[in-house]
């Protein structure tokens, strides 16, 4: 009897030890809800910790009571085990007071819960100064809010910025200091948008638009480090460099404050596990620059066109000339090195126009069309409704394959050669109309084409 009791006690102690262990281990993992970096997630974390303390208290109280009873009233001998204790049937006063106490404890949790529901679902009114003060927010943070329309597709994410007329995929760039309104839609099955460090999840329901919002906390993201280190700019590729330098894809993770990891949290099919994404926080300035770059890249009027003698070109302008060396009817992009006057004949040898990109890039660009990549992927256009992720300014991205791999030559090469090996069941390899005769599936051993495609894709900067 005694041994058993000891065993039972030991098991309980082991449980408590477990809890302590967890308390000591790290919580700033890439996708940790225990390391909130935004207003909404902080609120959710606070309510969670409140509930943790309440339940630990209850567990100790009730569990302690149970242990006491088990110890005090254990049958110490065979004889005692056959004794007949007083046969009491209950005590209504004790019962009633216990019910009352449990109801009161629930009220403690219910109040912050209701406040949290409102906070999650509604961006505070910019004119409601009292609330803003309570939340420690500035009026401009609400007024300057950006809106992102998130569309979930199997198995990647489309991020559309209706205010700016731009579309990107799998990496959500947002200003750290401003509220971000998220409208959630899906074109196929149910997905769920979850960036644990910024906010709890919200489902993307077919035939319905859901709403959530978050606002990051710039101070927490920086946590004393300079901006260039904790929140490097995306538009000029600094973010990508910093992430690559610091963040190895290994167990040793060192967080870059401005980089957040997200994940689809509702089972959506074979490759559900691979449907992750990233959110990149930016200073207001860097965000504006990023938006500018994107707007220029996706502006149909700013795309390079064939040289027109009737026009005047500024230094750095890009036009296309025919280039037979790349193939019949091939066009190549040239950049002007100086101001070019009207009808000034193009003189490619005189260095007034230089090649804008390497040969590999140009060949890759052609491959991108001839291998039918363009049918699903939009580059330098918004391409709403495209089947695959938008690849505009792809060279600035930190990740590949919906946040699954690091976006470098090596991973890209693995991915292009056989994406099914990386993400079994992905729709680039298995989608409608893709079979063994599809040119995409012939890339496995074609180093030349793969390298050209890589040059083209990573050249999108």
């Amino acid at each position: 009897m005694r041994r058993l009791l000891a065993l039972f006690t030991r098991a309980t102690i082991a449980t408590i030890l477990f809890t302590t262990l967890f308390g000591c281990s790290r919580v700033d993992h890439k996708q940790s809800a225990l390391d909130p970096k935004g207003l909404v997630s902080q609120n959710q974390y606070d309510v969670f910790m409140l509930s943790v303390w309440i339940t630990i208290f209850l567990f100790c109280a009730v569990g302690g009571c149970l242990l006491y009873v088990l110890w005090k009233y254990r049958a110490k001998s065979k004889e005692e085990a056959m004794e007949i204790p007083p046969q009491s049937h209950g005590n209504s006063k004790i019962e009633a007071s216990l019910i009352l106490i449990s109801a009161l404890i629930l009220v403690i949790l219910a109040i912050p819960t209701l406040q949290g529901v409102v906070l999650m679902n509604r961006v505070p009114d910019a004119n409601d100064e009292e609330t803003l003060k309570k939340l420690n927010l500035d009026r401009s943070q609400i007024e300057g809010a950006i809106t992102v329309n998130v569309t979930g597709k199997r198995f990647f994410w489309v991020f559309e910025y209706p205010q700016f007329g731009i579309v990107t995929a799998n990496e959500l760039v947002f200003p750290a200091n401003k509220a971000v309104r998220i409208n959630l839609r899906t074109e196929d099955v149910i997905h769920s948008f979850w960036v644990p460090k910024l906010a709890g999840k919200m489902d993307l329901m077919p035939g319905q638009e859901n709403f959530m919002w978050f606002i990051a906390d710039q101070e927490k993201i920086l946590s004393g480090k300079p901006t260039t280190e904790a929140m490097p700019s995306v538009f000029d590729g600094k973010m990508r460099q910093t992430v690559f330098a610091k963040q190895k894809f290994s167990d040793e993770f060192e967080p870059v404050g401005g980089l957040f990891y997200g994940q689809c949290a509702e089972f959506c099919g074979n490759s559900h596990a691979y449907m992750s994404f990233r959110a990149l926080a930016q200073t207001d300035q860097d965000f504006d620059s990023w938006v500018k770059r994107f707007q220029n890249s996706q502006n149909p009027n700013l795309q390079p066109s064939a040289y027109n003698p009737e026009e005047m070109y500024n230094q750095g302008a890009i036009v296309t000339f025919a280039d037979k060396s790349l193939g019949e009817q091939a066009q190549r992009e040239y950049r002007s090195t100086k101001k070019i006057a009207k009808a000034e004949a193009p003189n490619l040898s005189e260095k007034s126009w230089i090649k804008a990109h390497s040969d590999d890039y140009e060949l890759g660009k052609q491959l991108f069309s001839s291998l039918q990549c363009v049918q699903c992927h939009a580059v330098n256009r918004t391409g709403i409704g495209a089947k695959g992720p938008n690849l505009t300014l792809y060279g600035l991205r930190t990740s590949l394959a919906a946040g699954w791999m690091r976006n470098d030559e090596k991973s890209l090469s693995t991915w292009l050669r056989n994406s099914n090996e990386v993400k079994f069941g992905n729709l680039m390899w298995n989608g409608e109309g893709v079979d063994d005769t599809h040119p995409l599936r012939q890339l496995e051993n074609d180093d030349e084409k793969v390298n050209q495609l890589i040059a083209y894709l990573l050249g999108q900067i």
Binding site: H29, Q31, F48, T55, S102
Partner: protein, 648 residues
């Protein structure tokens, strides 16, 4: 104590009442025919239990495969589709083919004994439930062998993932198998519940008033009501899904006006009461065991029953807390959040009362008691995390993460399964007539308790650091590996514990070396313990006249006026019903019909057998109707027994 002896009436005597339209197998059938045609609630209970334990092993293997796949990042033990099939089948199996039938095993075996009845109200219908459960289990697991393999849609089958439009394998039949097997299992549960309700309301021994019913019987009644009120919702939802898949209706097709939301509502209107359908039987078992091993009556009997009923009733009012993240709006989420918190109160009451029962008792730590105590502690943890989830802001982070996985395994393994194992260790001596090895039992408990906690406690943490559910793989650098490895090790320990437990249960029926149990090995309190172990086929030689709540206890220790009396045996003795083939034929017909309805193209089997699905469905349907007609015409049948009983 005197022994009972039976005097069989000769089958040729006049007392044999039987109509000759369809002869029924008599009382002398043995072996396989006996088990196939039995209508004895005890044998049905054993068959339920045995089958469910088999499925527990099957579901357990699926779970271990899942755990192995998650051992480290980017593992390739299973492909993603296989993994998705595993967790779908694991969930469906454990809910519908393990916990529910294990509860049904106890309902069948114990409940009639506890109310002093000789059988359930409709013995043949009871057999039909059993065979429908069999057919459902087989149908579900047949899916592995056909196009697309097992369903990969999750046990919740959220629309529109189940729509043929989004099938990831051409002509995927997995969801069809899933739909039809759940329908058959629904029939099994409904029939059994109608039966139990009628039995408890109508077949109580004289003096067994409702407020003298043992708590387990009360929980049986409440669960049966939950089943008959909750299952229609899923039956209709599944029918709508079947129509969507087969006939192109638009119930859940959002491109043509349907609403995937509706599926979630219908599923959880069933699904949340289902949670209580799974846990209340275990609570009933624990409420039986704790008084016995504390040698005190249940503290607050009325309140425990009342809170059970409240839990069941409120279970219908909180379903949307499974859908907090689907965008239901501020008002709906807040309302469901508060209602869900309220459910914690009746649940808490039960725990207080169990502790109150032990207070001042003489507590013995035999294996059933250990499992019951394990139940209380583990269920408490599961309940506490449940309170966390009732809060919407917390749920927004927890939903579909491993935290939720930890939560419901604490409730369903630490709760339901520990409770059911406690029931096995408690009542198996009554079923098999032999006491089990206590040492082995305690080993099983230790392995299960430790294995379980090592598996599932780290999952709370994994969920909080961002591991989502239902993902077959995770990337490097998330820090998930270590805790997943601990969980996997724990899962294997738990698996070994359960396997030894199952071995012990099954072997106790065959191992002749075990000590005989006697009538009342635990000095227990309810009237099933006044019967010999194993229980005779007629249960009670003389129907007892009940005088108090803990009748077996009062018989031994109570004042004279509280001792049970016994009804005189009438001229005809005990009327025993005959065996019957009809339930088996009917269930077989249903099974064949469903298989026919499942397929869309001609079925060829080794060139011996070629049939269109319609032909098979019609053949099955005919067999089904034939079974029912035979059933109606075969008459009650039966024979009479004159058990001699000497009073103690």
């Amino acid at each position: 104590m005197a022994t009972e002896s039976i005097d069989y009436a000769s089958p040729e005597t006049k007392s044999k009442v039987e109509t000759k339209v369809f002869p029924r197998p008599g009382q002398h059938v043995t072996g396989i025919v006996d088990w196939l045609t039995t209508i004895d609630h005890k044998k049905i209970g054993l068959l339920y239990g045995l089958t469910a334990l088999f499925f527990l092993l099957l579901g357990g293997i699926e779970a271990l495969l899942i755990r192995s796949q998650l051992w480290s990042h980017n593992m390739e033990i299973l492909t993603n589709r296989q993994y998705n099939q595993m967790f779908t089948m694991h969930g469906t199996t454990m809910v519908f083919l393990v916990i529910m039938p294990l509860s049904a095993a106890f309902f069948n075996f114990i409940m009639p004994l506890q109310i002093g009845a000789r059988d359930v109200a409709f013995p043949r219908m009871n057999t039909l439930s059993l065979w429908c459960f069999f057919a459902g289990g087989i149908t579900l697991n047949l899916s592995w062998f056909f196009t697309g393999g097992a369903p990969a849609i999750g046990w919740f089958g959220y629309a529109p993932l189940t729509d043929t439009r989004f099938a990831e394998v051409m002509g995927d039949m997995g969801p069809d198998f899933w739909v039809f097997s759940l329908q058959i299992l629904g029939i099994a549960s409904l029939l059994a519940s109608f039966n139990f309700i009628t039995t408890i309301i109508n077949m109580r021994a004289p003096g067994m008033t409702m407020m003298r019913l043992p708590v387990f019987t009360w929980m049986t009644l409440i669960v049966s009501f939950l089943i008959i009120l909750a299952f229609p919702a899923i039956t209709i939802a599944l029918a709508e899904l079947m129509f969507d898949r087969t006939y192109g209706t638009n119930f859940f097709d959002f491109l043509e006006g349907g609403k995937p939301h509706l599926w979630q509502h219908l599923f959880w209107i069933f699904g949340h009461p289902e949670v209580y359908i799974l846990i209340l039987p275990a609570m009933g078992i624990v409420s039986e065991i704790i008084p016995v091993f504390s040698r005190k009556p249940l503290f607050g009997y009325g309140l425990i029953i009342f809170s059970g009923a409240i839990i069941g009733f409120m279970g219908f009012a909180v379903w949307s807390h499974h859908m907090f993240t689907t965008g239901m709006g501020v008002v709906a989420t807040s309302a469901f959040s508060i209602l869900t918190m309220l459910i914690a109160i009746p649940t808490g009451i039960k725990i207080f009362n169990w502790i109150g029962t032990m207070w001042g008792g003489r507590i013995r730590f035999d294996t059933p008691m250990l499992f019951a105590l394990g139940f209380i502690t583990m269920f408490m943890i599961g309940g506490f995390t449940g309170i966390m989830h009732s809060s919407v802001p917390i749920d927004a982070q927890h939903q579909d993460s491993y935290f939720v996985v930890a939560h419901f395994h604490y409730v369903l393994i630490g709760g339901a399964l520990f409770g059911l194992f406690a029931g096995f260790y408690f009542w198996l001596p009554k079923m098999s007539g032999r006491l089990m090895n206590e040492k082995l039992g305690k080993l099983v408990f230790t392995l299960m308790f430790i294995g379980f906690n090592v598996t599932f406690f780290p999952m709370h943490y994994l969920g909080m650091i961002g591991q989502p559910r239902r993902t077959h793989s995770y990337n490097e650098g998330h820090g998930f590996e270590a805790w997943n490895q601990i969980a996997t090790i724990g899962a294997f320990v738990l698996g070994i514990g359960i396997a030894i437990g199952i071995y012990q249960f099954v072997s106790s029926f065959f191992n002749k070396k075990l000590k005989p149990a006697g009538k009342n090995p635990w000095d227990a309190r309810t009237i099933e313990w006044t019967l010999s172990s194993p229980v005779k086929e007629y249960n009670f030689a003389r129907t007892p006249i009940i005088k108090s709540r803990d009748q077996a206890w009062e018989n031994n220790y109570g004042p004279k006026e509280k001792h049970a009396q016994q009804e005189a045996l009438g001229d005809h003795g005990v009327h025993m019903p005959d065996h019957s083939w009809c339930p088996l034929v009917t269930a077989l017909g249903l099974f064949v019909m469903v298989i026919g309805l499942l397929f869309r193209q001609t079925i060829e089997f080794a060139e011996l057998f070629i049939a269109t699905p319609y032909e098979i469905a019609i053949a099955g349907g005919s067999l089904f109707v034939l079974g029912i007609v035979m059933w109606a015409l075969e008459g009650p049948g039966g024979y009479h027994l004159f058990p001699k009983e000497t009073e103690e």
